[in-house]
Amino acid sequence: MGHDASRMQNGKIRQLAAFLFLSVAVVAACLVAYPHIRRVPLLIATSDRLLSQGEIANALEALRQAMALGGVPVSKADAMLEVALKAGEGHIAEQMALLLMDKGRVVDSGRVGRTAGLLDAAGNPDAARDLLERRRGMGPLNKREALHLGDLLRRTGRYDAALALYDETLAANPDDTAVLADRAETYLWMARPTEAEKAAREMLARTPGSRAARVVLARALAAGGKSKAAIVEYKKLLGDTP
């Protein structure tokens, strides 16, 4: 009996030791991690302040440090996205937009569009396209972003996807000349000038005063080998006597 009691006591001591060790480890981890977690919002606030002072390089460095610490809280991602956009930093803006969308937050189409614009301008059209497609999966894009996505899709040869996007956008605004023009011009990208000409003529019938429609028509005629007719269209557009 005495032997059993001693073994039980030893077991309890081991349990207690293990509990104490784990407690100390958790507290130590918190102590180590806490300053880093605290630093993220501080760095974002610093970045915003530096940006307002025109110190763009330092502002971006602060944002990069915040990202390097990892685990940017969703509550801060919104502010960080805004700062990155103000500073023209596409990669950070992209990461923040993705973080927000990963958490189910619908980021405003315009902000995603500005991010995609920065990525595209920085020579990263694939990332821009992926980001816009991701956002489109969460709800309709504004016209400006839809046009950008359509262009990005065309540039990677995804013409049918671009046409589907234009049709979807036109469902809301059937007479939008920019969307109609890009849709018609997609047939030129596909080396189908006859269809481009047909789409441009339909567009002209629908919006007779549209310069965009006449430009697409001239381009379609030129691409189809009808150079004289194309020249006439260009001259009409310029008000020159043919």
């Binding site: 480890a25 981890a29 918190c30 180590v32 991690a33 880093h36 990202m67 390097a68 610490l69 990892g70 685990g71 990669h91 950070i92 992209e94 990461q95 993705l98 595209d120 020579g123 990263n124 059209p125 694939d126 990332a127 046009l147 262009d151 540039r155 000349t177 920019a178 023009a181 890009d182 011009e185 549209s210 310069r211 965009a212 429609a213 430009v215 697409v216 001239a218 381009r219 030129a222 150079s227 004289k228 194309a230 020249i231 260009y234 001259k235 557009l237 310029l238």
Partner: protein, 202 residues
């Protein structure tokens, strides 16, 4: 510990995600209702050039330059259109007004052609050298440079250019005979005879 691991993992993932990606293609100018006249005119000028209507193209390029005077590439296109419409002096003047940094290799070659046609050999040599700096493998242009240098009695330079051409095309008998002729002009008759024999397959 878990928190530290998560921080490290998150940082690595973010660092991976922001790595640079390949450069994309440049998009064509979109057709919009507010498209500027000069952009439309530029397209018209290009089409007129492609249709062989160079004088009309030149007129359109001139009108583009009225709106956009600081577009050196348009000026180079105007020069080309003027050249093809027979107005070589005007073409030369436009090329001379174009900043050197905006001139393409083809513009340089055009410049050389214009100078050669006008008998301005020294300027032609400069233009050919500038062209060859951009297109060193163009043997036809290098041969032209060798010829022009020989006409200006810059024989050593001419021979050096012929030798570069022959190094790339050793079986070209016509080039070898022209090389031999310049060797004669340089008073190197023995070398000239040797080259002529080679050109005869001896």
């Amino acid at each position: 510990m878990l928190a530290i691991l998560l921080l490290a993992h998150g940082g690595a993932a973010l660092a991976q995600a922001i790595s640079p990606a390949p450069t994309g293609a440049t998009a064509p100018s979109p057709a919009r209702d507010d498209i500027a006249d000069w952009q439309v005119r530029l397209e018209l000028a290009k089409l007129l050039t492609e249709s062989g209507r160079h004088a009309e193209a030149a007129e359109q390029y001139r009108r583009v330059l009225q709106d956009r005077p600081n577009e050196p590439q348009v000026r180079a296109k105007l020069a080309r259109a003027l050249f093809w419409s027979g107005k070589r002096d005007e073409a030369a003047a436009e090329l001379a007004r174009t900043p050197a940094s905006a001139l393409s290799a083809e513009d340089r070659l055009l410049q050389a052609e214009i100078h050669l046609a006008a008998g301005r050999h020294e300027q032609a040599i400069d233009a050919l050298r500038a062209y060859l700096a951009l297109r060193p493998a163009d043997l036809k242009a290098r041969l032209k440079l060798a010829d022009v240098l020989s006409w200006r009695k810059r024989l050593d330079e001419s021979l050096a250019e012929y030798e570069k051409v022959l190094a790339a095309a050793p079986d070209d008998r016509q080039v070898r005979r022209r090389y031999a002729r310049v060797l004669t002009w340089a008073g190197r008759n023995a070398d000239a005879i040797s080259e002529l024999r080679k050109s005869l397959g001896q």
